[in-house]
């Protein structure tokens, strides 16, 4: 089953801890037993006292006292044992914390190996180049845009010019002298005709 590979191995440490805990449990059970005996001795002493057997009652109380001292001793032992168990468990936690730190450190190293300074510099250079390139493209695009705008401006300008010409339209002045060559005459109207559509 899948159980075998997912459960951790039982180490000698685990056995030692279990042993300790079992000892602790035994002490606890022993204490319980003494507690019962204590109560019983008390009851016995009371019963003897009721029947007037004072000496027997004293014996029972003495036994009780002795058991009480045992109880105190086991208390001290129990404390020691529990302290030990807690220390071991805490140490185990510390071990796992250390293990975690170690792993984290290794992961960090691994990551650093991948991003050493040269490769970072190279990467940054490449990025710089790429940025330059991007900027150039941007400029070209910007120029293109201004060229388009330039055209639009030119168009607008010529339109304005035309309008200005229309407002202050001046008729061609009357020639003051005779044409020297009559051959040119027919050419002039055609030139004028050609200009008219541009002006309109």
């Amino acid at each position: 089953m899948g159980a075998s590979h997912s459960t951790p191995k039982i180490t000698a440490q685990d056995r030692a801890i279990l042993d300790l805990k079992l000892q602790r449990d035994k002490l606890k059970q022993y204490q319980k037993k003494i507690q019962v005996v204590l109560e019983r001795e008390h009851a016995i002493a009371r019963a003897h006292l009721a029947t007037g057997q004072k000496d027997r009652a004293v014996i029972a109380l003495r036994r009780r006292k002795y058991q009480q001292s045992l109880l105190l001793k086991t208390d001290a032992q129990l404390e020691t044992l529990e302290e030990l168990v807690s220390t071991i468990e805490f140490s185990l936690v510390e071990v796992s914390v250390l293990h975690g730190l170690k792993q984290g450190n290794e992961v960090l190293k691994e990551i650093h190996k991948e991003m050493n300074i040269e490769s970072v510099e190279k990467l940054m250079d490449e990025t710089q180049e790429a940025r330059e390139y991007q900027r150039e493209i941007g400029e070209i695009l910007a120029n293109n845009l201004t060229a388009d705008e330039e055209d639009a401006v030119q168009d607008e300008l010529s339109q304005l010019e035309v309008e200005a010409v229309r407002e202050g339209m001046e008729l061609p002045s009357v020639p003051t002298h005779e044409p020297e060559q009559p051959v040119r005459e027919p050419q002039a109207p055609t030139r004028d005709e050609a200009r008219v559509p541009v002006a309109a």
Binding site: S6, T7, I17, L18, L22
Partner: protein, 191 residues
């Protein structure tokens, strides 16, 4: 005579059928008998859950100071369950997996399953998680007798072992044995 429910000194509400005299006698008719046995089973399990009782012995019918006396006897109608009838009820419960003979190999004493071992397994695992005791080694005594009372206080070792075995099937428990005794380590499991 009117049959009515009755609240026992321990705060358990007995059903009205408990004050019916025939309820305490084995019925000759198989059908009736099956119904009555069914009612006894429910009643016994409910009472066991109420008082956190795990063991029911045939001899509990005899002792008036038994912790089962409130259910097995009804002094108000002067009736008590006969040992022979209880032993057939126990046999039925064992056959329905609502109890098991414990120790095995006799028919006088049963371990009641008011929670099935599978359910106890979940309770145990949940307890270990909520008290942060996963991955630590626990003795059985530590589980059955914890300093802070838990749902598992006083659970019989046999039942506990069954629950641990259930958890072991899914890789959530690991039994550790040393010369002095046994312990268990509960694990988070896969999911």
């Amino acid at each position: 005579m009117s049959f009515s429910t009755f609240t026992t000194p321990t705060g358990f509400l007995l059903p009205s059928v408990h004050s019916a005299p025939p309820f305490f006698t084995q019925q000759p008719h198989p059908g009736t008998n099956a119904t009555v046995t069914e009612q006894w089973t429910t009643l016994l399990l409910a009472y066991a859950r109420h008082r956190k009782l795990f063991v029911l012995r045939v001899e509990d019918t005899e002792a008036a100071d038994s912790e089962w006396a409130e259910v097995l006897r009804n002094e108000r109608i002067n009736r008590k369950l006969l040992p022979s009838y209880l032993s057939t009820i126990l046999a039925t419960m064992v056959s329905k997996n609502l109890a098991t003979y414990d120790p095995p190999g006799q028919t006088r004493s049963v371990l009641l399953y008011w929670r099935l071992p599978e359910e106890w397994a979940e309770v145990l695992h949940g307890w270990a998680i909520s008290t942060g005791q996963l991955n630590t080694i626990l003795t059985f005594y530590e589980i059955t007798d914890p300093p802070i009372p838990s749902p598992l206080s006083d659970i019989p070792i046999n039942l506990l072992k069954k629950a641990i075995a259930v958890l072991a099937k899914t890789g959530r428990s690991q039994l550790i044995a040393v010369a002095d005794g046994e312990g268990v380590r509960l694990l988070a499991g896969k999911s």
